[in-house]
Symmetry: C2
Subunit: 179 residues, 2 copies
DNA sequence: TATTGTTATACTCTATAACTATA
DNA sequence: TATAGTTATAGAGTATAACAATA
């Protein structure tokens, strides 16, 4: 039963690609006074934003899986590669991690030989982090895979559509700058 | 220090609106043979998709907070409101929840008087779930707030831009249908 | 044998609090 | 006092395994 739920409207999703948060659909009962008709989630841009982002994230995870990298550890490694000598605290500020939570991430990246710690001569509290050659190579490989993933994600869009989508998305997230 | 990291490029973010996963930027060193230049994350549509989705989700959480509703419980309630008599297992299939995880969600929604359980005369294993008037009203209020949130999220876009954004996003997430 | 609702449990991600050593 | 790195811990959210009742 429940074939009546189709299509399913989504706001959240699990790791398997399945979707959560269904919503109203077709055959809307005529709005009654005092019980107005609900908006359909499928009308909301946010609904499609969510689904597109879910597909992106899933593809990203898959693209990085064989490198044994997930998004946050890659973010940390990328910060080190692009900013050699950066401190852990600065990474946390830059990418919004809590200081407590970068410890285990760095421990694993260090154990894999992807970066080295060095004492900061100017401040004995801080450790300066430097990428190893292996770390740089893994980062480059990861970013290549992200690019390939993106090409697959957007395969239904033309070049100009991709540019327009990027432009519109930038306006969406930059809209909070005036908050 | 670290003013050099600007702008920060993001792939993941925490609950506070801060961002994670910075990326390369400007002044790219000339690509050397065997050490090719990395893509800039800010060039990736997925980067902006992620940031836009983050802003959307945060606004959604904020919009629902005073109703003591989060995305998944609202999804479940919405399924009941839009499909009176639905079973918990069918909700789970529709929105991608594991059966084990809907139990506590239903317990809370039930305690708040938002729906009622009724035995299914055709199958004694299943409980049919029906929304109460309170549940319907809360759902309507929640969806109104989601609509208000959307208006704020997209305030920088014109009507035609919103329509175009929705069209492009649909092409992105529907691109996985041929997989 | 398969399904429903349920309990117990584990794992990931993220949050706070508190410690130590430095500044 | 403020900050860096660290530890411990707690809370979401989501995953699996197993059970009793029913089909």
């Amino acid at each position: 039963m429940l074939y009546s739920i189709n299509p399913v409207h989504v706001l959240v999703a699990d790791d398997t690609g399945e979707l959560a948060m269904a919503a109203p659909h077709k055959t809307a009962p005529k709005p009654e006074p005092g019980e107005e008709r609900l908006e359909f989630l499928a009308d909301l841009v946010g609904y499609h934003l969510r689904r597109a982002s879910i597909r992106d994230m899933q593809g990203m995870s898959a693209a990085l899986e064989s490198l044994s990298l997930r998004a946050v550890p890659l973010s940390v490694l990328l910060m080190i590669v692009e900013n050699p000598g950066i401190s852990a605290a600065d990474i946390c500020r830059a990418i919004g991690l809590k200081r407590a939570n970068i410890v285990s991430i760095l421990a694993e990246l260090e154990q894999r030989g992807l970066f080295l710690r060095e004492a900061d001569p100017n401040d004995n509290r801080v450790q300066k982090l430097f990428p190893t050659r292996t770390g740089k190579e893994l980062t480059a490989e990861a970013l290549e895979r992200l690019k390939d993933h993106e090409d697959h994600l957007l395969c239904a869009l033309s070049g100009s559509e991709r540019a327009e989508l990027r432009r519109l998305l930038m306006k969406v997230w930059q809209g909070d700058e005036g908050d």
